[in-house]
Symmetry: C2
Subunit: 199 residues, 2 copies
């Protein structure tokens, strides 16, 4: 798996790892797949454009065969619209294709599926930033824009997942004292990095 530039990693603790879910019930039967769809939107969309320097990895940990990692590449992705169903439909197609025994496979342009675990994904990345309310203020943090930002879905990261980040030397960076949905956090990170870019 080649990951470059800015990366977002979302841990989807309950999102299903079968294509047999309904696009009409993303929050329920699909294990909060709606959150993942919104994170993909938040990470990749500009108005009438895509963020071509962003990779977004969703690590799906729900039944029946976790882990599965779906990677959306902003440079290559096609057939992606901003609505939740669109991102979820591309995830469904990836799950229909299935993950190869090793490495990753492209299911639709710019969308890749693999059996990578959270540990595998983190191991393949550098400059890990764990978004956490106790971290350093994002507006003061030394960020270049090519970091890998790690977020969790509606559940916190487990102690085991936090240990993986700690072992890799992840920095904690904070968006403030309020707690936000993962997709909102991604918008805030992208915005902060956008403002630094144009200065």
């Amino acid at each position: 798996m080649i990951l470059r530039m800015r990366t977002f990693v979302i841990v989807a603790h309950k999102a299903v790892t079968t294509p047999k879910f309904s696009l009409n019930d993303l929050p329920g039967g699909a294990g909060r797949m709606d959150i993942i769809a919104r994170c993909i939107n938040a990470s990749l969309f500009l108005s009438h454009d895509l963020r071509r320097d962003v990779d977004t990895c969703a690590v799906l940990l729900g039944d029946p065969s976790p882990p599965v990692t779906i990677r959306f590449n902003g440079e290559k992705v096609r057939y992606l619209s901003p609505d939740e169903r669109s991102a979820a439909a591309l995830i469904k197609k990836a799950l229909e294709k299935g993950a190869p025994p090793t490495g990753e496979e492209e299911s639709t342009p710019g969308v890749h599926i693999s059996k990578c675990s959270f540990a595998d994904v983190i191991e393949s990345l550098d400059n890990i930033v764990y978004l956490h309310e106790d971290g350093e203020d994002i507006r003061k943090a030394d960020l270049k824009g090519d970091e890998a930002y790690v977020l969790s879905d509606h559940q916190n990261l487990t102690p085991e997942e936090e240990a993986i980040l700690e072992k890799k030397g992840a920095r904690k960076v904070s968006l403030g004292k309020k707690l936000y949905h993962a997709d909102h956090c991604i918008v805030m990170v992208n915005h902060e990095l956008d403002l630094r870019e144009v200065k």
Copy 2:
């Protein structure tokens, strides 16, 4: 219409004004209702909580009987989940109830429907902020958090709509030089105001 505290006003140029749309096709048949659903999410949700000091008004201008304004009140709203279908379902219920000839009516707790036009909504508000790339930098702007922030959907405001804002003395405030989706703009505004609150 009593509006208080922070308000977001989204102009939905194509969103339908009939309940006869499918929750399975919000971007198409419902006239980009997916954008409005995401704006409601962005304006009202914190992690495991709602922003109780926010009102969000969507001015629907699509066929067959525009204008219709749907107002979500963060303090009172119930049955709202973060996914697009959930907000859209509450809009659908409001449209089923229909707007009264004058004033507004509550369709479900915290959701109100009226025949207010964009001009009516703006007339009822003070401290209007028009989010526009040519405005004053949001990080330097004098904002108290109780402003009414005006955004457009995937189409720009028309010259007539801009004239309504100008007449009311709206200030232009900018989120930067990149162009963003309306829901992402709302997340950025809420974040900026959150950070000021806790200082």
